[in-house]
């Protein structure tokens, strides 16, 4: 079976003057359509750089990204990003923030009224339609991130890239939002790639967890399948043996093996 999204021998070397640091080394990964994949690793291991390369915001030094067998090396709405700090434009309302992307992506294919309906549809998906005329400064952090998700979804991306989307939120809001993202994934069948540093989050949400070794020259250390049936319920999983085993595997990788990598 051919891969939907393929990361092919990606290396990334940052050069500043004479000094150069190899951040990523030989990253190979294939993701199938509709899959939910998490990339987990300690901070500084280059996982955000990897996401930026997939998004096209950073260019890989060697290797490349293939989406449906076509190379992608510049940013575009087919790989919409949900940024960690939401990145909503503060001078636009919630509606206008989502509309900005919709107007560009569907400039030719949708009429004005259809675009308007599509924006509202996506705001409804994240339950933010009620705040459409509010500005980002007037809504909470969790709500901002919902709007960020709506903005990305509204571009009908082939792959949805989530860059630590819940990192800046408090635990309760985070749980709410994780459940929302799970429901959206269930319903829309998006292909999702998520960067995270939260083990529970990775196990709860993902079909596969990609564990990265510590940088510099971070590699993919291990890929773990999470064979849990969907829909998943947070409370039931707390005592589920498979869940606990997966969680244990990730923890072991992060807190035992990564030290080994660091010493090597």
């Amino acid at each position: 079976m051919t891969a939907y999204l393929k990361l092919d021998h990606i290396d990334k070397i940052f050069t500043r003057g004479a000094a150069s640091t190899e951040v990523l080394k030989d990253i190979n990964l294939t993701i199938e359509k509709g899959e939910y994949v998490s990339i987990i690793g300690h901070s500084g291991c280059g996982k955000s750089t990897l996401l930026n390369i997939i998004a096209g915001l950073t260019v890989a030094t060697t290797g490349g990204v293939l989406l449906e067998n076509r190379e992608v090396n510049s940013p575009g709405p087919d790989r919409a990003v949900v940024f960690q700090n939401h990145s909503l434009l503060p001078w636009l309302t919630v509606y206008e923030n989502v509309r900005l992307g919709v107007d560009k992506v569907f400039a030719k294919t949708k009429k004005r009224a259809e675009r308007d309906a599509w924006v509202m549809h996506n705001l409804n998906l994240v339950q933010m339609a009620h705040a459409k005329d509010k500005r980002p400064s007037e809504i909470s952090g969790g709500m901002k991130q919902r709007v960020g998700i709506a903005r990305a979804l509204a571009m009908e991306p082939k792959v949805l890239l989530l860059d630590e989307p819940f990192g800046a939120l408090d635990a309760l809001t985070r749980a709410h939002l994780q459940d929302s993202v799970m429901a959206l994934h269930q319903k829309l069948g998006n292909t999702i790639l998520m960067i995270t540093h939260d083990v529970d989050e990775a196990v709860l949400l993902s079909d596969r967890i990609v564990m990265m070794t510590n940088g510099p020259s971070a590699r993919i250390g291990e890929v773990l399948e999470v064979p849990l049936a969907r829909p998943r319920k947070r409370l039931e999983l707390a005592t589920n043996a498979t869940y606990l085993k997966c969680r244990q595997r990730v923890l072991e990788f992060l807190y035992e093996r990564h030290r080994f990598v660091e010493a090597a």
């Binding site: 998004a55 434009l89 900005l100 009908e156």
Partner: protein, 298 residues
């Protein structure tokens, strides 16, 4: 590709009970009379102290300048001497013998023209310098030197170039007010968060859309800081420039009054100059407040 979402029921999208709680907030409005009373109190708090200070200063001035042989007139004499000018600002006896309204409006027209030009050119140059590293390296040192040249030092040169007072005065306004606009715009553009650039890249805004939808709103607070400093400087420069070029204008009115030893008229003119400078500053600040509403980071 078409999302299956469009065919599904929106209601089922949300796991039950996890929706962000929506509470309609309708703050209780206090009775109208209370609101007015509070507004009156707030106004009084802001207006009374300066009024008291002004009254005190006038009193001291009156006492100091009242004595016979005093070089400057006391406020009572200023008012008596300039009553006609105050009460009838619209007379026009031809030449430069006009009411203060005409002098001020001539000055304001020059400022409006010179300042508009410098706002347009300043924002354009500021965007260039903020956006392009090479433009900054090439132009910034030049700007840093040129901006220290005093406004009036430009006047002889511009008179030589334009051979006419009117365009020269406008040029002096332009060249005086453009530097803070350029520099602040450039800083604003350079400080556009990378996040906004990333958003623009993912959405694939073209350069023109990036300019109007991201750059200008994001840099607006900085741009307006520059515009506000600029309007103050142009009002400073026009009075000095007009003293030298002559003709109708508040600057030459002051110079003419000095030559005719009408000290009271000078004081009246200074009062108007101050008030108008203040109003111009507030005007730009007000426009800035409306335009940049919501731009502050959160």
């Amino acid at each position: 590709m078409n999302m299956p979402a469009t065919k599904m029921d929106i209601e089922t999208a949300t796991p039950t009970g996890t929706a962000a709680p929506v509470v309609a907030m309708t703050p209780k409005r206090p009775p109208r009379r209370e609101t007015y009373a509070r507004m009156a109190r707030e106004t009084a708090v802001r207006v009374i102290p300066p009024l008291v200070v002004v009254a005190l200063l006038m009193l001291i001035w009156e006492l100091v300048c009242r004595r016979a042989g005093s070089a400057l007139p006391p406020p009572s004499k200023v008012f008596k001497d300039t009553k006609e000018l105050i009460l009838d600002p619209f007379f026009d006896h031809g030449g430069i013998d006009k009411g203060l309204f005409w002098h001020l409006s001539a000055s304001l027209q020059r400022v409006a023209l010179g300042y508009s030009l410098s706002a347009i050119a300043g924002i354009a140059l500021g965007v260039l310098v903020g956006q392009s590293v090479w433009a900054m390296r090439g132009l910034d040192p030049l700007f840093q030197v040129l901006r220290t040249i005093p406004p009036l030092a430009w006047l002889p040169l511009s008179l030589a170039a334009f051979r006419d007072g009117q365009p020269s005065a406008i040029f002096v306004i332009f060249i005086t007010s453009i530097w803070p606009i350029i520099i602040n715009t450039a800083v604003g553009v350079r400080n556009i968060p990378q996040d906004y650039r990333n958003v623009a890249a993912v959405v694939q805004l073209n350069p023109l859309e990036f300019f109007t939808k991201i750059m200008i709103p994001a840099a607006a607070p900085y741009i307006f800081t520059g515009l506000r400093i600029g309007i103050g400087l142009s009002w400073l420069a026009i009075v000095a420039a007009e003293m030298l070029i002559g003709g109708v204008g508040i600057g030459f009115f002051i110079w003419d009054a000095w030559n005719s030893s009408h000290i009271s008229e000078i004081i009246l003119a200074l009062f108007y100059v101050g008030i108008i400078g203040f109003v111009l500053d507030r005007l730009i600040a007000g426009v800035g407040k409306i335009v940049t509403r919501g731009t502050a980071l959160n």
